[in-house]
């Protein structure tokens, strides 16, 4: 039966008026194949040893989950075996708890001494729940009351990536730039230290790393012209021990005589000044809002640095050190041992702040102490963490902004066709500004030898524009419109073999995966989707073992713990938001594709799938 034309037009009108539909995917032939641009210094030698973290960095699992990364190796591997692909179908929610905040929830629930701790998005409320009692009643609640104006200088929703329990304290950051330690028994603050200044655009969103009596944190604000830093505080008192800036003179970066970067382009005096136009380093970004990793085995601290500012790269000719790279520092003094630049003179907002996973891995015939880093720029970097030398770099998502990593110089081989330009729209740049993967961490199973990478399949159009620095306002200078990558699906869960340098299986998701993953000794990988499904897949095959629809999309970090009764539990927060979900949780109109730094262009349909929320869910098998 034919429909009269005028009704068809009427049916189309709402879409036309909306002015915004999800754009067509980038064609397959726009991106490079893995085999074309992946490089390694030597062929795989899987027979040379078993890939696993050291005992110092991943001690025997005690069933707790005291830090977001599970252990210093950052494997996010749970040794619990009760839940398996065979019985996962009977997983059921045991209890849930409303967080009372309907913004993006990115935190990991923390479990220590039979208490579960969780920190919400702004206003960063902390709850402690008693796992020994039925229904996990509230033990205490702590409301830090951060300054409301901090919401206006947070680039990408008002998220918080979690806290850590150590030495009887729950330690976390607030959006307005405080680090707070709460006594886990009383729920009262032991100390609170103000570090960030919201009037110049500094916020804090990261989860602190706590080790050997020190608390390590950094600042957010790369979209507001802040000058990045990493700070060590005394765990007992909250007093500042050292601060290392991400730009500027060597003295400010804490570069001293022991600094031995592997590649020649990182060697020289005051490169944090000379690789910028005059004074631009003062407002040049290079903060730290992702993952700082402590290496208990080698006594080192690894952290990436965020993007340079402004996004318009024409305003900052030079390498823009030490942004979009990675430092290995002495945790006691903050002095760096080495630096590696993933994206010198970054032109695409490729922050270097994603996770580091510390493993012993066979390479070129022997076991090497490596750091695996899944960068926003699209490469899996395997780096010798004793020296900062890149052993291999392979794309794990859609890449055309570079043509591989030159392993002699360490630098990406830039693709001139995808370099950004002032006043000119460059189309179909892959990966997109938020990266082949953003902050949300991968996991590693020593049983399968695989990394479980939750990531994006998205690209973008980009036009650079001249921008003024006005203190406390955005300092971006780019008109960005994101779009789906090849195939049209926007997310992927990739099981990656770091030794063989290739994926073993890939699960496609309609939306980008913005949650972390956790992998268990029962051979299950748990993750959440932005449309609200919490899923378990077989770690060996990627086959879906179980899923459960929660109240709102998931962008948090699931964990696995042993309860007081000896059984295995899985905990996760719902609550869509973050940069990718701001179109649901934020004051954002889906008709403007440039909104939320161009993310809305590719996420304008998310409001049809989910609504804002914020709930803790805990699952177990019936028992």
């Amino acid at each position: 039966m034919s429909v009269p034309l005028r009704y068809m037009l009427l049916g189309l009108l709402p879409f036309a008026a909306a002015g915004q539909t999800v754009p067509a995917p980038v064609p397959d032939n726009e991106v490079f194949k893995r085999e074309e641009i992946g490089h390694a210094l030597a062929a795989p030698t899987p027979g040379a040893g078993h890939t696993a973290p050291s005992a110092a960095n991943a001690p025997q699992d005690d069933g707790q989950w005291t830090m977001p990364s599970k252990n210093y190796a950052s494997t996010r591997f749970s040794a619990l075996t009760e839940i398996t692909p065979a019985n996962a179908h009977s997983l059921q929610p045991l209890f849930s708890f409303s967080l009372g905040v309907n913004k993006g929830q990115e935190a990991a629930p923390i479990v220590a001494d039979n208490t579960l701790y969780v920190v919400t998005a702004y206003p960063n409320i902390v709850y402690a729940l008693d796992l020994t009692k039925e229904g996990a009643p509230l033990k205490w609640k702590f409301a830090p009351k951060p300054a409301p104006a901090s919401q206006g200088v947070a680039c990408c929703d008002v998220v918080n990536r979690g806290g850590t329990v150590d030495a009887g304290k729950y330690i976390f950051t607030t959006l307005d730039g405080q680090v707070i330690a709460i006594d886990v028994k009383t729920g009262k603050a032991v100390w609170r230290t103000q570090l960030g200044n919201i009037n110049i655009g500094e916020t804090m969103t990261m989860a602190p790393t706590v080790a050997e009596g020190k608390v390590y944190v950094g600042n957010s604000g790369g979209e507001l012209g802040v000058r990045g830093w990493v700070i060590a505080l005394d765990e007992g008192s909250g007093k500042l021990l050292w601060r290392a800036y991400g730009t500027g003179p060597d003295a400010d970066v804490l570069i001293g005589p022991q600094f031995k970067p592997f590649y020649s382009s990182d060697q020289g005096k005051d490169l944090g000044v000379t690789s910028w136009p005059a004074q631009a380093w003062r407002i040049g970004g290079g903060g730290m809002w992702g993952w700082i990793t402590y290496d208990a085995e080698l006594g080192m601290l690894y952290h990436g640095t965020a993007n340079p500012g402004p996004w318009n790269a024409d305003q900052r000719p030079g390498d823009n050190k030490w942004t979009s790279g990675m430092f290995a520092r002495d945790p006691k003094t903050g002095q760096p041992h080495w630096f590696y630049g993933m994206s010198p003179h970054d032109e695409h907002d490729y922050d270097g702040i994603n996770e580091q996973i510390l493993l012993d891995m066979p390479f070129d015939g022997k076991l090497r102490k490596v750091l695996i880093h899944l960068d926003r720029n699209g490469y899996v970097y395997v780096i010798d963490r004793t020296s900062g030398q890149v052993l291999s770099a392979d794309p794990y998502g859609p890449v055309n902004s570079s043509k591989g990593v030159d392993l002699q110089t360490g630098r990406p081989i830039l693709n001139p066709e995808k370099q950004t330009k002032l006043g000119q729209t460059v189309r179909n740049i892959c990966p997109t500004a938020s990266g082949a993967k953003d902050w949300n961490p991968s996991s590693f199973s020593p049983q399968t030898g695989l990394l479980y990478i939750p990531h994006e399949n998205m690209c973008m159009d980009w036009m650079s524009m001249q921008v003024s620095y006005i203190e406390g306002t955005p300092y971006v200078g780019a008109d960005v419109h994101m779009k789906p990558g090849p195939g049209g699906h926007r997310g992927e869960l990739t099981a990656w073999d770091p030794v063989a340098r290739k994926p073993v299986w890939v699960v496609k998701e309609n939306f980008p995966i913005w949650s972390g993953t956790v992998v268990t000794a029962g051979d299950l990988v748990f993750y959440g989707s932005m449309d609200g499904w919490f899923k378990a897949v077989n770690a060996k095959t990627g086959e879906l073992a179980w899923r459960y629809k929660v109240d709102s999309g998931i962008i948090s970090q699931p964990v696995s713990y042993r309860g007081p009764d000896g059984h295995q539990y899985i905990a996760v927060l719902s609550g869509v938001g973050g940069w990718s979900g701001a179109v649901v949780s934020g004051p954002v109109d889906p008709r403007d594709g440039s909104a939320a730094l161009g993310m809305v262009n590719v996420m304008s349909d998310l409001p049809k799938y989910t609504t804002a929320g914020g709930t803790l869910y805990v699952f177990s098998l019936p028992h």
């Binding site: 008026a17 409301p148 620095y469 955005p474 909104a595």
Partner: protein, 191 residues
């Protein structure tokens, strides 16, 4: 020492563009050097709002030049950094019919002048008042049916329609609680 430009100097240049008819007015980015930092010390605003008629608003209704100049100023003063092209991001979207602090032209002007507590800086004294009115006219235009209808592609508000005086003669939004009707008085909200 960072080469900072006093904001007064910058605004003196911007002031000249008030009655501008010709090439685009000089944006801040064109006036400072490439690394120029503006000493602005912006601070968040107060949490009160006013609902009244301001006679100064009249000149900015039915005024195509006001909305077009306002569009350039909106980008030049980084308003677009938070509010995008009306769709929002770090700050709220401005192209729908929901107004936290009132959506009439003079209310928008007042919000820009005073700032608001959840992160909107106070721009009064930092941007010449006439330019704030022009920015307010552009913001008011974003949600007009004519401006929305002119959207072609993923970027709205590129062809802003002049704001008809009739557009603000109704109360299509509710003022938030604890606001006053007296434009000349400012009332602090609950602490």
């Amino acid at each position: 020492m960072c080469s900072r430009f006093p904001i007064e100097l910058l605004l003196a240049g911007a002031l000249l563009t008030g009655c501008y008819r010709g090439p685009p007015p000089a944006m801040p980015s064109e006036q400072s050097d490439r690394q120029g930092a503006i000493e602005s010390a912006l601070s968040p605003g107060s949490d009160h709002s006013l609902v009244a008629n301001d006679p100064r608003a009249a000149a900015y209704y039915d005024n195509a030049e006001a909305v077009n100049t306002g569009r350039m100023l909106f980008n030049g003063f980084n308003c677009s950094g938070c509010h995008s092209n009306g769709g929002g991001g770090m700050g709220p979207d401005l192209m729908d019919d929901e107004w936290i602090y009132g959506g009439r032209l003079e209310q928008i002007h007042q919000t820009i002048v005073e700032g608001r507590p959840n992160g909107m800086p106070a721009w009064g004294g930092r941007i010449p008042d006439q330019q704030i009115w022009q920015i307010a006219a552009y913001v008011r235009s974003m949600s007009l049916p004519q401006t929305l209808a002119a959207q072609n592609g993923p970027t709205p508000s590129q062809r802003p329609a002049p704001v008809p005086a009739a557009a603000d003669q109704h109360n299509g939004w509710s003022p938030p609680p604890q606001t006053t009707n007296d434009y000349t008085t400012t009332t602090k909200g609950a602490d």
